[in-house]
């Protein structure tokens, strides 16, 4: 099982390194920019306050909480509101799609299935490899702030970034678990990727619409982006219990369904 986990990680190492470094470079850019923004904090805060509240709603942020007096606030809106989740979503969906559907599409799954290893172990080896990938990405993309902030003499609270890392992990885990379910169902990587990608896009749209239309505000509960409360994590170092339960619940249900489906399905390459 360990060899299968290791081989899976090794096969995806290029994309993992690229995404992790890409995210770290974005973070570096924001860290480097922050002192300049902080110097002109009063002017920028005035400017941001003049923005229509819908601009902030579109990225799921409370305008009252946004201030350049804190690095966490700046990074939350610039990085963790959109860029970082997009990178996470693409990374985990691509990784998940390649796990089983990708192997069936290429025909390599027969090599594994012909070995004395159960389908359950194959599934959870792939799952573990995915979790390790997510953890590596989050460590690199979030905690790079430590050396970067020291380099640019920016003050920050590590606890807030640690909480953000936990929230990000739960968010990524839920999407990855859905992706593992899709990759167990489909025999083509593209179908697995597009089904989960489409679902996540739909969730984003639902979240935005629920913010704009009072009568539809309850539909936000159907969106991961409602539970991905990066402002609370970055500014207050807190995660709602409901967010934790929803992300973990979806992860468990999707993982179990994916495992059952993979164990029962026909695999013909």
């Amino acid at each position: 099982m360990l060899s299968l986990i290791w081989r899976t990680i090794k096969d995806r190492k290029i994309s993992l390194i690229a995404y992790s470094l890409g995210s770290a470079v974005f973070l570096w850019m924001y860290v480097a920019m922050f002192p300049m923004f902080a110097e002109k904090q009063a002017e920028f805060d005035k400017l941001f306050k003049a923005y229509p509240k819908e601009v902030f709603q579109a990225i799921g942020m409370d305008p009252a909480q946004f201030t350049l007096s804190r690095f966490e606030s700046f990074v939350a809106v610039e990085h963790f509101s959109l860029v970082w989740p997009i990178l996470v979503i693409i990374l985990v969906i691509a990784f998940g799609g390649a796990m089983i559907a990708g192997e069936i599409e290429k025909g390599t799954i027969e090599t594994i299935l012909a070995q004395p290893i159960s389908r359950l172990k194959i599934y959870f080896s792939k799952y573990m490899a995915g979790i390790i990938n997510i953890v590596v990405f989050i460590i690199v993309s979030v905690f790079t702030v430590v050396p970067l902030a020291a380099l640019h003499d920016v003050k920050y609270d590590l606890k807030n970034f640690a909480v953000m890392a936990v929230l990000g992990f739960l968010f990524a885990l839920a999407i990855f678990s859905l992706s593992m379910l899709a990759t167990s169902i489909f025999s083509e990587k593209g179908k697995a990727n597009f089904s989960v990608g489409g679902l996540i896009l739909l969730m984003y749209v639902i979240n935005v619409i629920s913010d704009f239309k009072e009568s539809l505000k309850d539909i936000r509960y159907a969106s991961f982006f409602h539970y991905y409360d990066f402002t609370k994590a970055m500014l207050d170092a807190k995660i709602d219990n409901l967010s934790i339960w929803v992300f973990l619940g979806v992860s468990v249900v999707a993982t179990v369904l994916g495992a059952i489906w993979f164990m029962r399905r026909d695999i013909a390459v």
């Binding site: 025909g107 390599t108 299935l113 070995q115 004395p116 290893i117 159960s118 026909d266 695999i267 013909a268």
Partner: protein, 300 residues
């Protein structure tokens, strides 16, 4: 002799929604056969006959719609993990990991099956360079790697789907020699093929499958008795078509100056008859696999 493989009334239907209905494709439709210990069993049939589907059921890649498969007396589905420790498998079209080297593939299989005593010998025997990446190998070398992975743990049962596809004649002979050696050691080989001479060369018995149904199980000797030949004869002078109508002549087609005879079994009566004629040309060839299949399929 002990049965190594027992297939009983195996059925496999495919349908778009996974629900059996009138539109279901009957890939395998109630086949039964046994393969005995130490036997080389050929599974012969045209493309789409159900050979690969049967093999995939045996390897538990797909699950039967009905019927059962026992290998070494164990259920091919419930006991598939322990069985695969004893089975070497070569797929029809070897698809491995493009970015891995041959050695990495061997190491990977060793990590799951245990250290191989034979991998190095096989690499040498096949003159295979394990340092290259899979995508850099020729089709022949890809097939060699597939064979090494299938045989490196000295499995008691070898299941191969078209094992010599893409191989040059020298390597094909090498494989046949390996089969002979494995059989001498008491190993059992199940091989699918649509190559009749290959099946005749390596197999003890042959199962012939068509449209999901097993139409015959014959010893290779019996298969030879049913062998068809195609004789094209062109005459210098007049000839009597009726002279060639006797037992064993399956079909007579007329040419402008001769006949095409499809003959089953002994050709000596034809040769004797032709000795009485002055010939312009004579060509005797083995019938195609399709002709052999037709021979088995007629009346089915």
């Amino acid at each position: 002799m002990t049965n190594i493989i027992e297939v009983t009334d195996l059925k496999k239907y495919f349908s778009s929604l996974g629900v059996r209905n009138r539109e279901s494709i009957k890939a395998v439709d109630g086949i039964s056969f046994e393969v005995k210990k130490g036997e080389v069993f050929g599974f012969l049939g045209p493309n789409g006959a159900g050979k690969t589907t049967t093999i995939r059921c045996m390897m538990d890649f797909i699950r039967p719609s009905a019927g059962g498969i026992k290998i070494f007396g164990e259920d091919a589905y419930h006991d598939s993990v322990s069985l695969k420790q004893r089975i070497g498998y070569l797929p029809g079209n070897v698809q491995l990991y493009d970015k891995w080297t041959g050695q990495e593939h061997i190491n990977f299989v060793e990590s799951l099956m245990g250290k191989s005593k034979y991998a190095k010998d096989m690499i040498k025997r096949f003159s295979f360079d394990p340092r290259k990446k899979f995508k850099q190998y020729s089709s022949g070398n890809k097939q060699k790697l597939g064979l090494i992975l299938a045989l490196m743990n000295d499995p008691e049962l070898i299941v191969m789907d078209e094992p010599t596809i893409g191989l040059d004649p020298l390597l094909q002979n090498e494989i046949y020699e390996i089969f002979d050696e494995l059989q001498n050691k008491g190993h059992t080989i199940f091989v699918s093929s649509h190559n009749l001479p290959e099946v005749e060369r390596i197999c003890d018995r042959v199962g012939i499958i068509r449209e999901g149904k097993l139409v015959a199980i014959e010893s290779v000797g019996k298969l030879g008795e049913k062998r068809l030949r195609r004789i094209v004869v062109r005459f210098e002078d007049r000839y009597e078509k009726d002279d060639f109508k006797f037992d064993g002549v399956e079909r007579i087609e007329e040419l402008s100056d001769g006949l095409i005879l499809t003959v089953r079994g002994d050709i000596n009566p034809i040769v004797n008859k032709l000795a009485g004629y002055k010939l312009h040309d004579l060509e005797v060839s083995h019938a195609t696999l399709e002709d052999v299949f037709l021979e088995f399929y007629k009346g089915q």
